[in-house]
């Protein structure tokens, strides 16, 4: 009988217990991880400061933007492993796939950081579907993909937040890239939150 089988499964799973110091270790790690995140930001700040210093010496740094003008961030989306890049306009929700079904392995987003700017980013929301982010020079690639087993992106509900600073470390822009799923269709929206 199915019922009996699952009753037994429930009983056996109920017996799985973590080790005694589980809680202590988890919270110790959380403290450590939070410290780690902070130090990463400090590293970015140091890197930005070093860049400013070097550029000043070379005499090529201009305070052209310094937060006075809106910074343009170019964002493109493409189906995974395809070269059909679509430029995403700011503030417009775009459907990612023309059909309700994904025919492919996911999406790639390419974010071009304007010349002369530094950036850092983080993912927010209930996740998930964020697979990995790579960052080369001024291009950030956000890969969101499916490997067949996980029904991408049934559970998509995640944002990528991107902060731009000028080389002096002044806040120069904040963008949010939102992936969502509504009525079986997949959407992406790029928001400019620089004024917030």
């Amino acid at each position: 009988m199915d019922d009996d089988r699952f009753e037994r499964i429930k009983e056996m799973i109920g017996q799985i217990e973590p080790k005694k110091d589980f809680k202590e270790r988890i919270f110790e790690n959380i403290k450590y991880r939070k410290r780690g995140k902070g130090s990463k930001l400090i590293k970015y700040a140091i890197a930005a400061a070093a860049a400013v210093f070097i550029c000043s010496l070379a005499g090529i740094w201009e305070m052209r933007f310094a937060g006075k003008e809106q910074v343009g961030l170019n964002v493109y989306a493409s189906e995974m492993d395809q070269d059909n890049w679509m430029k995403l306009p700011v503030g417009e929700k775009r459907q990612l796939s023309s059909s309700n079904e994904t025919r492919f392995g996911g999406y790639t987003f390419s974010l071009e950081v304007p010349d002369g700017y530094e950036c850092y980013y983080r993912d927010v929301g209930t996740m998930i579907g964020l697979d990995y982010i790579s960052h080369n020079d001024n291009v950030i690639i956000w890969y969101v993909h499916d490997d067949g087993e996980f029904d991408f992106p049934d559970y998509m509900d995640t944002d990528l937040l991107l902060y731009l600073t000028d080389k002096d470390g002044n806040k120069a822009g904040k963008y949010r890239l939102i992936m969502s799923r509504e009525n079986g269709r997949y959407y992406v929206e790029l928001l400019d939150e620089s004024s917030e």
Partner: protein
Amino acid sequence: MEAEEAFEEFGNMLYRVGVVMLRSRYDAEDAVQDTLIKYMEHRKEFQSKEHIKAWLLRVNINICKNKLRFYQRHPLIPLEQLGMTCKNEADHALMEALMKLPAVYKEVFLLYYVEGYKIGEITEILKISESAVKKRLERGREKLNELLGGHENG
């Protein structure tokens, strides 16, 4: 609810889900940790304790799925190594078969049979349609039967 309180209330449940999804105690602990960090960063108000539980389960399951993506060739760790004891050979075969199921079936089994959620509630947690939940339960049961072969007669 503070993170520590949420952990006291739901930490073991999340851990158990992680062990079944990931077949590893270490990865299950990591998943609980990542889930708690997400909880601490989450700024929305929850309506009730049940709402928190459902949210934590959803995030935990999604984190487990992401971990599975990274470790495609996850080794099948014997139950004994996971510290699980089964009363008899049939129970052992049953748990082994459950652990071998693809993640999409395990998650609905865990929510439906172990946590006792109704199909409508699972649609909310996993953000999939009701028919998808039913289909996964049905296919999961079939798959479990296949995996059990002649070892299990119910």
